[in-house]
């Protein structure tokens, strides 16, 4: 039985999966800073309003992982914004996150060279996103 995507339970599961990953700590040893994921509303797919998710990463450790409000999300070092369908594609590995960014399907606010320099960390975190069972709102 999976957890419903974009909920606090899902964020907890995501955090636990990252902490349990044997490679994450080493790959992410240089990463400093929080990331917010912003999921744009899509009422037809069970997302009536924008969802804000805040994740704190620090040198291979994982801190706060919460569903949050807009202000907290916008305080993150990196803010990634996209439609629900795109996030779902990324989580399911149907669309690479870097490609989505370059194609304009995701928008990012933050230091792009830093992300490029640490692209292995980004890829690892996204890889783990698909590692635990998720129930998607439009599939309930």
């Amino acid at each position: 039985m999976g957890v419903r995507a974009l909920t606090q339970e899902w964020m907890d599961a995501y955090k636990a999966a990252i902490q349990a990953d044997p490679e994450y700590k080493d790959i992410a040893k240089n990463w400093e800073g929080s990331v917010a994921l912003v999921v744009l509303p899509d009422p037809a797919k069970g997302i009536p309003e924008t969802v804000y998710l805040f994740q704190d990463y620090w040198h291979g450790d994982v801190g706060e992982f919460v569903v949050c409000d807009k202000d907290k999300a916008e305080s993150a070092k990196f803010v990634m914004t996209g439609e629900y369908a795109r996030w779902k594609q990324i989580a399911r590995k149907e669309l690479d996150a870097t490609k989505a960014l370059l194609q304009g399907k995701l928008k990012m606010k933050g230091d792009l060279p830093y992300v490029v320099r640490n692209i292995k960390t980004v890829n690892k975190v996204i890889d783990i996103l698909g590692a635990f069972e998720t129930i998607w709102p439009d599939e309930v």
Binding site: L102, Q103, P113, V116, R117
Partner: protein, 619 residues
Amino acid sequence: MATGYAGKFLLVNLTDGSCTDFTIADSELQKYIGGSCLAAKMYLDRYPLDTDPLSPENPLMIMTGPMVGSGFPGTSRFTICTKAPQTGIWGESACGGTFGPELKRAGYDGIVLEGQSPEPVCLAILDGQATLEDASALWGTDIYEATDLLKAEDKSRKVLAIGPAGENLSRIAAIGNDKGHFSGRTGLGAVMGAKKLKAIVVKGTLKTGKADENRYKEVLKTAIAEVKGSALAEGLHMMGSDANMDLGMVTGDVPIKNWTVGEDFDLSFNLSGPTMREKYLTKAHACANCPVACKRVVKVDDGPYRTDEGPGPEYETCGTFGTMLMNSDLAAVIKANELCNRYGLDTISCGSAIALAMELFEKGTLTTDQVDGLDLTWGNMGAVMPLIRKIAYREGFGDILADGAVHAARKIGGDAMDCVVHVKGLEAPMHDPRAFHGMGLAYMMSNRGACHLQHAVLATEQGMASWPQLFDMKDDYTGTTSVDKAALVYNSENYGILGNSLAICHYLVDILKPETILEAFNAITGFNLTSDELLEAGMRDWTLKRGFNNLLGITAKDDVLPKRLLTALKEGGGAGSVPDVALLLSEYYAIRGLDERGFPRKEKLTELGLDELKDRLYR
């Protein structure tokens, strides 16, 4: 007269010193558009093909396109075309910078250079007036020196020049525009050198019109907004093309140690765009009319590779003088880039030739005595710097490498050719087809030899761009499969090749929506092509150049990947994977309309309005 064009071309006969104007019918312009496509048509119509590329009979064509000089983003380009000294087949090399728009302002859509001058000359084109001037005093200067001397009187003049490599007929010689922009590939600088043409200087004040000024203004706003919203544009501005170093190391795109190693994150960390930005970047620089500004201006303050502030290396150069040589010192790459710029050497071919030498040195095929006492151990950049000079001046062992890796391997013999990664004589750029099989097919089918700039496969296969509105394609392709790649390559060729006929930067082709580029093209020219017609123009372009090569003896047997690219790597994004050449080619030949010999089929040539080429191919 079709709008967007200057309306005339300049024919320069360097043998008798005459300069005359000629025109091309609007119907031909609409069919072949401009740039390298129009150049291929002009070559086929007017010149014999069975000539030595360095003989007076081989013309050199410097072409703009209808959008050049319009002010539309990315339209700074010009394309230099000829039968290539390095490969003996169709040769072209596009360039950004300032020369293209200035040539249009000086009154010309292009220049055709015939013959050979008895003495070194410089061609000056000032507001429609072309003259040949004595350049004896410039002969022997490097590109930076020649450019400074030619701008001494008037800094606003735009200069195209060769350096010692071109003068010494190196078949990997480049042509430089205002020090920072280069037509590098296929050895076109040697053709200028053979013609004793040291430089071309242009300046003009003329304006080309637009078919619909208001329509153009609207689409210009759209284009600017698309650039501003593009992460690709932002990345290029902040990190230059070398942004690919970090990303490519993860995907397996970056060749290492002459294509024998699949992954080395220490190398990519030290050679990457972010590192260049942190340590050496002084400012970003833009070609004319470009809001992206991807060019790097760099300075190395101290150490053995100290440089003045000047043009910085592209990703390709960070590959050939970095990862390919097992060199992790970015300052050394910057210095090597400066030397290649000054001498007028293509950095891809020069670095690839040196990588070959280092591998053969390690294997013992080349001894210290044979390489003039240099220690060509991997990563020894102290030996690379003098070797670059030797190549440009054809001194000692430099003469062996001066025509590129393929010619060098032929001279060295033994199994040296097994260590060269090339297609049709042109060394591959820094994108590994073992990680991206579509690129392997694109290398095999590119009309100038292994190339990433005759098509848009790099963008579509690696996911930098997605154009489902233009042709059937996915947002995300797996690199290490050959399935579904033939159609992707075919379509990406038909669209991407237009960059060199419209003369618009390939990065802007990737960044802007196809409908935006088409709208701008139509607003400028008034041709009002549909997207299908635009793609048909791309098909015609590709087929015309393929026919050119077929007439020179290119057949299906030449559409191959070298042994090394068919040997799987042990590590990295492409580990264990090689392109399925048979699958790729069989599907591609069917889609492209090639027969079993690799010739365009008669019905395809008729469909594209290339009956004259058909008559020559099926004579």
